[in-house]
Amino acid sequence: MTSLLQARGIEVRYGESEAVRGLSLAVGPGQIVTVLGPNGAGKTSLLKALMGALPCRGEIRFDGEPIHRLSLEERAEIGLSLVPEERALFGEMSVADNLELGGFLRRHEDARTRREAREEIYRLFPRLRERAGQLASTLSGGERQMLALGRALLARPRLLMLDEPSLGLAPRIVREILDAIAGLRDRGMSLLLVEQNARAALRIADYGYVIERGAVAMEGSAADLRDNPAVAATYLGGSAAG
């Protein structure tokens, strides 16, 4: 199977310190691939580099084409999308305006198609419809995550990268959001899901990488990783939600 996203030998450095050290991964079409790892392992740096928000070394191919030279905006144009850890919502704008801007790249489509796309997000997260007129900065953590996800989806990306979507959320909300993510995969979207919440991520993922100090420590199908005693001991112990 050819991969939608193929990254080889990715290196990200901040001055002297190296956050990602020669990491390789692939995401196939219609797959959820998860990247697990402790705090500071380099997960966020990896996603930002793939999206073009951080300079990096290595080779990145999207749909077979090298995209290393493309800017962040150009990668968004060809179908990559990132929901960053900090969400980066437009806080002083309404939920509806945030969603409208999520469709910025689809601005040439006719008004009806775009309205229908927004309706679809409201059906996926009815809570957003109730809050449509509210400023994004006044939303709860779960609602902010739903809005960030909805905003990203309105560009109809081919590959959606999510940086710890469950961070700081109540278990019930985590389940709701991860179910929504699994639903996206079932409709053919490819996802790269970064999580510390390994139990929740492995429940919906097809494949997973465990990274430590910027390099892949382990990889395998989600089922294999779930059953792997080393993973279980390090990441599945305790009371992780999901």
């Binding site: 905006e73 919502l89 305006d97 801007l101």
Partner: protein, 347 residues
């Protein structure tokens, strides 16, 4: 002071306050979107006013050569940049944006100016000549500097101000210009007589502010500009190019400057270098509003206009000192408020 004088002062103060208010809007817009302190705001006003004055004398304004030269240099530099980067994807569209509006404005002016164009046509020519200069300034100077610190950008803005002043001197010489009034005289409204100039400034600035309000509140591009100003990373993630927004902000700022120049043209005699002080008064308005709020910046600028007119009546040697002195109590008050709210933030 009797009531008649007070009412006339009030009118004068409001008229200049509204014009400072327009400049304050352009300064704030440019700052929020690009972090550039838009020192040349007043130079665009002066360029607009002087261009109109020369056009109304039935002559070709030197602005034509400033614009033509700037467009030519920008086209060459952008071609060189594309060639050096080996990346020609955006080039045709960019060159069209650089060349077409500028060439159209220059040719229309060369054709219409000697025919003593009617006032509305002259005003359109002013807007068409001055607005592209904002866009070209961004492409040529500020876009390559997006990653520079704010302080560097400020010094570059000061440099741009001096370049524009020098170009103004070459184009217009050192004498002063004043356009004939659009409508001379005053309108009798019973208790006082309102100058037509005030009514025109009021109507045009209200219309422009309302149009900007609709643009920022209702249109996709207006919202994209605000999004870039409040959350640049988020804006880039949804595909909004920072450089397009910078170009848009500079273009709108130049348009606002040109409109203010058209409005102020008949009110005072202006020289090629009158812009700096006008910029500073716009700055006082925006700084009083904390460099954050568009409506409050306009209110601040109105206050500047009123205080300035009052001061020029009572203590004219200290006029500028009093206007800039306004900043001190405001900054003290704002920092006091900030400290108090920051204290609350820790709860």
């Amino acid at each position: 002071m009797n009531a008649t004088i007070a009412l006339i002062l009030l009118q004068d103060g409001l008229t200049s306050g509204l014009i400072y208010g327009l400049l304050a809007l352009s300064i704030l817009l440019v700052f929020l979107v690009t972090r550039v302190l838009w020192v040349p705001a007043g130079d665009f006003l002066v360029l607009g006013a002087l261009t109109l004055a020369v056009l109304r004398q039935g002559e070709v304004p030197g602005t034509v050569w400033i614009l033509a030269g700037l467009a030519a240099v920008t086209a060459i530099v952008e071609t060189w940049r594309a060639w050096r980067a080996g990346d020609w994807r955006g080039w045709p569209r960019l060159i069209a944006l650089v060349v077409v509006p500028s060439a159209a404005a220059v040719l229309a002016t060369l054709w219409l100016a000697p025919q003593n164009a009617p006032v509305p046509v002259a005003i359109l020519l002013v807007l068409a000549l001055v607005t592209p200069i904002g866009f070209l300034t961004y492409r040529l100077v500020f876009r390559p500097m997006v990653d520079q610190p704010t302080l560097t950008l400020m010094f570059v803005a000061v440099a741009v101000h001096y370049v524009l002043t020098g170009l103004g001197l070459t184009a217009f010489g050192s004498e002063s210009f004043r356009s004939p009034p659009f409508l001379p005289g005053r309108l009798d409204v019973g208790f006082t007589r309102l100058s037509y100039q005030l009514l025109i400034v009021l109507a045009v600035s209200a219309a422009l502010m309302a149009a900007l309000g609709l643009f920022f509140g209702r249109t996709l591009w207006g919202k994209a500009l605000r999004a870039t100003a409040m959350q640049r990373f988020g804006a880039r993630l949804v595909g909004i190019r920072t450089e397009s927004m910078g170009a848009l902000a500079f273009t709108i700022a130049a348009l606002i400057g040109a409109v203010s120049g058209v409005l102020i043209g008949p009110m005072t005699a202006l020289y090629y270098d009158s812009g700096f002080l006008v910029s500073l008064k716009g700055f006082v308005g925006t700084v009083m509003a904390g460099m954050a709020s568009f409506p409050l910046s306009v209110l601040g600028a109105l206050l500047v206009g009123l205080v300035e007119t009052g001061a020029s009546f009572y203590a004219s040697p200290f006029k500028e000192a009093i206007v800039f002195g306004l900043l001190v109590p405001f900054l003290l008050w704002r920092s006091a408020v900030q400290i108090r709210t920051r204290g609350k933030g820790h709860e």
